[in-house]
């Protein structure tokens, strides 16, 4: 429990050096137990992707009219596979990875071990959640998709499993808050190390955001599925879901941002531009990502149009921190490229370490995310949303955000994280490079197909291979989708070759590699207004006020809920 004394990093190239423990790992290494738990979190996350990938491939092919579902053992319907795909990718993979990765970054940034009980608790509740979800879904008692809208009723194990997933993130959050609080006690007056700050900010946002899901699942759906409550109020259920359902997007994305801000600059030989701006970006996500849920419900009846417009405004506000991110990261990349000898306006681009699969994967993820950002703005526009709501345009959008910006970044992170956690050299660097490119090309083709068909009205989440309607306009995009989806599946398969190769056949390393942590051009200051960025109570209070403004009037008008819709099991 000793804290390391801060020591400036020795780096002649750096005119300004960042103070703080993050640059100095001496005397700090997580225990074997904690490393193992984090490693297994990461493995569990990727295992989820491995299973989900097969279903994703089957779905992509179904858009081209190819039905391969018959080959899946134990799979009864398309929608069962869709539930597997959604739950494993969107919930299990992202939660497991964030739990492992941000626990590690926080511990490393603060140079202090985490609470082992909370670490165990988070991991095992995740495992228990996956087992329960797996049982419910594989026995076809929960083909309700990952949005599980009432009054479609799943088996109670599904809701309990989902609740346990959330519990695991809460235990992780408790762990991070505890570590940060202890660090504060030992370092009064110091600024939080940036990496710890952004990791904790991510979880702070998610804890506030996940309350909706928790209220819905524990307070309502679980007793309802056990028969303790008769009816349901579908509109309130939807609202509670999307209260959490939009910020969860940022809970997926922010771990990737942690890597883009704090690791990529070091990996490309550049620096992070500004410490206070980085903190401000994460605070803005904390503030604005939650009061936006109605933009998923633009076309819902029963919600006042004005409230929808208000959430629309908030949604546009959340675009701003992403813009700031785009600049900051591009600047670090340019600094890196120039430090490596790049000249001219664009000459720094080819000088980037494109041979490093970790960097290549993440840069490609960023580029794809620009497409995702633009399509996201279209989704958020009140009038344009009417054209694309619930069409394949939407999955076209989110496969370029969570499906690439997040997933491919996580894979890129894995290319240094897994060697660090296993003390083994990365296996098959060239395969890893090929993986990143194939996956990116695949997702762009896939998204092209999905978006085009969506503009022509093709519904999302629909078994197109057997639909009795199929306008010609959807045919060609369907082939794009199938081809792109197949390439994505190839990409992920290659990733598993690298992952498993590293775990089992990677050359053992003498010394555990360290996490790449970026230096900052403009470091944190203890003077002026900046310390207010570290005042959690202020930001949490503002976030709560914004939520009350955005949801208060609607919630009051819906109270008490009219629970008059009976449950249905239509799968």
């Amino acid at each position: 429990m000793s804290t390391t004394v801060a020591r400036p990093a020795v780096d002649v190239a750096a005119p300004v050096v960042q103070r703080g423990v993050v640059d100095d790992p001496s005397g700090f290494e997580l225990s074997r137990e904690q490393t193992a738990l984090i490693r297994w979190n990461i493995y569990l996350g990727f295992a989820a992707v491995g299973v989900a990938m097969f279903h994703g491939l089957a779905q992509a092919l179904s858009y081209a009219g190819i039905n391969v579902l018959g080959w899946f053992p134990g799979l009864q319907t398309y929608y069962q596979g869709l539930t597997v795909h959604g739950v494993l990718n969107a919930l299990v993979f992202t939660f497991a990875f964030a739990n492992g990765f941000l626990s590690l970054t926080t511990a490393r940034a603060l140079s202090r071990p985490l609470n082992r009980w909370l670490l165990h608790g988070a991991f095992w509740s995740l495992v228990a959640g996956v087992v329960l979800l797996g049982y419910a879904i594989l026995s076809n008692q929960a083909s309700v998709l990952f949005t599980f809208y009432a009054p479609l009723q799943a088996h109670w194990t599904f809701y309990l499993g989902a609740a346990l997933l959330v519990v695991s993130t809460w235990l992780t959050a408790a762990n991070l808050f505890l570590a940060l609080g202890r660090w504060r006690r030992d370092n009064p007056g110091e600024r939080y190390p940036l990496m710890a700050f952004v990791s904790v900010a991510t979880y702070a946002m998610w804890v506030i955001a996940s309350i909706g899901l928790a209220v819905q699942v524990v307070g309502y759906l679980l007793p309802w599925s056990l028969g303790l409550i008769e009816g349901s109020d579908p509109l309130t259920m939807r609202t509670l879901f999307w209260y959490s359902g939009h910020p969860v997007v940022y809970f997926w994305l922010l771990p990737a941002y942690v890597s883009w801000y704090l690791m990529i600059p070091r990996q490309v030989g550049g620096k992070l531009l500004s410490d206070p701006l980085t903190r401000m970006v994460f605070i803005m996500f904390l503030l604005f990502s939650i009061p936006t849920g109605f933009h998923h419900q633009y076309t819902d009846p029963g919600i006042p149009a004005f409230m929808k417009a208000l959430h629309g405004v908030m949604t546009f506000a959340i675009f701003f921190p992403s813009l700031a991110t785009a600049f900051a990261i591009m600047a670090s990349l340019e600094m890196g490229g120039r430090a490596r000898g790049g000249r001219g306006l664009l000459g720094w681009i080819p000088k980037l370490p494109w041979g490093d699969p970790s960097v290549t994967a993440q840069i490609l993820a960023m580029l794809t995310f620009m497409v995702g950002g633009a399509t996201g703005l279209i989704n958020a526009s009140l009038s344009m949303n009417r054209v694309i709501h619930n069409t394949t345009w939407v999955p076209g959008h989110f496969h370029t955000t969570v499906g690439t910006a997040v997933a491919l970044t996580f894979m890129g992170i894995a290319y240094w994280l897994v060697p660090m956690l296993t003390k083994r050299e990365l296996f098959g660097r060239r395969i890893a490079l090929a993986q990143a490119w194939i996956y990116t090309v695949g997702v762009l083709i896939f998204a092209r197909g999905m978006s085009a068909a969506g503009l022509d009205g093709q519904p999302r989440r629909t078994f197109m291979a057997e639909a009795p309607y199929m306008p010609d306009a959807w045919l060609v995009p369907g082939y794009w989708t199938a081809v792109g989806g197949s390439l994505m599946a190839v990409g992920i398969t290659l990733f598993f070759v690298v992952l498993l190769g590293t775990i089992f056949f990677g050359r053992r390393l003498e010394k555990r590699p360290d996490m790449p942590i970026a230096e900052t051009v403009h470091p944190a200051s203890r003077k002026g207004w900046e310390p207010i960025l570290d005042r959690w109570p202020v930001w949490v209070a503002v976030a709560v006020i914004l939520i009350v403004i955005a949801y208060g009037p609607f919630v009051i008008s819906e109270m008490p809920p009219t629970l008059n819709t009976p449950p249905f099991r239509l799968f």
Partner: protein, 221 residues
């Protein structure tokens, strides 16, 4: 000095922003939406007198549908109207008179004479509560085109129609269409009370607050 001015103007703008947001979100006063222009019409009432929408300008009007040969099927509608007529003095409409109009969806058979005997049975006085009928094409236009309620004659001579209670304000604008199931009298009285509030606030600064309530769709229902 400069900073003081800056901070002051910042605070003032912040306060303005907070004020407007508070109004839009907390909705300290609510209104009924202005849904559409109520239809223009010329009909004939139970005394054979001409009833036009212009005659009802400046008054709050509750329209409903029924027909004389309807029997038990229309009884709940007529009961609601009768109770509403009896309880109108419970709401303060700011001096705006309230009128009730039952439009016949069987204009071919509901002559003024038929309406008159029905009105006597219902206790409709012909002043506050009038029963009206007219040219079938006109009734179709008012009920279907204006109030958006469908009706048609069944083979057995009865008329199939959806119950509806439409509230129109003094400017001739439809403010509420209660058309799913039967509304209770309390709801209608509450809608009249909301319109009354607006009438009372139609002069002075309060008017802006009500205009803002419309602008920010602070709708009661």
């Amino acid at each position: 000095m400069k900073r003081k001015v800056l901070t002051g103007s910042l605070l003032a703008m912040g306060a303005l922003l907070v004020g407007v947001s508070f109004f839009a979100i907390a909705q300290p006063l609510t209104v009924l939406p202005r849904m559409a222009l109520a239809p223009g019409f010329v009909l004939t009432d139970q005394h054979g007198e001409r009833l036009t929408n212009e005659d009802l300008r400046g008054k709050l009007v509750v329209y409903t549908l029924a027909y004389t040969g309807c029997g038990e099927a229309c009884a709940p509608i007529n009961r609601t109207m009768a109770e509403l007529a009896a309880r109108l003095d419970e709401v303060d409409t700011g001096g705006a008179p309230v009128r009730l109009v039952t439009i016949s969806v069987d204009p071919e058979r509901d002559t003024p004479a038929a309406l008159r005997s029905a009105a006597e049975g219902l206790g409709a006085d012909g002043q506050v509560w009038r029963l009206a009928s007219g040219d079938p094409a006109m009734v179709r236009q008012v009920v279907g085109g204006g109030f958006e309620v469908f009706y048609e004659a069944r083979d057995d001579g009865t008329i199939r129609f959806d119950p509806a209670f439409v509230v129109v304000d003094g400017w001739g604008i439809t403010r509420a269409r209660n058309r799913v199931g039967l509304p209770d009298v309390e709801l209608l009285l509450d809608q009249l009370r909301l319109l009354g509030n607006e009438v009372r606030a139609s002069t002075g600064v309060a008017r802006f607050a009500y205009e803002a309530a419309h602008l920010f769709s602070c709708y009661a229902y």
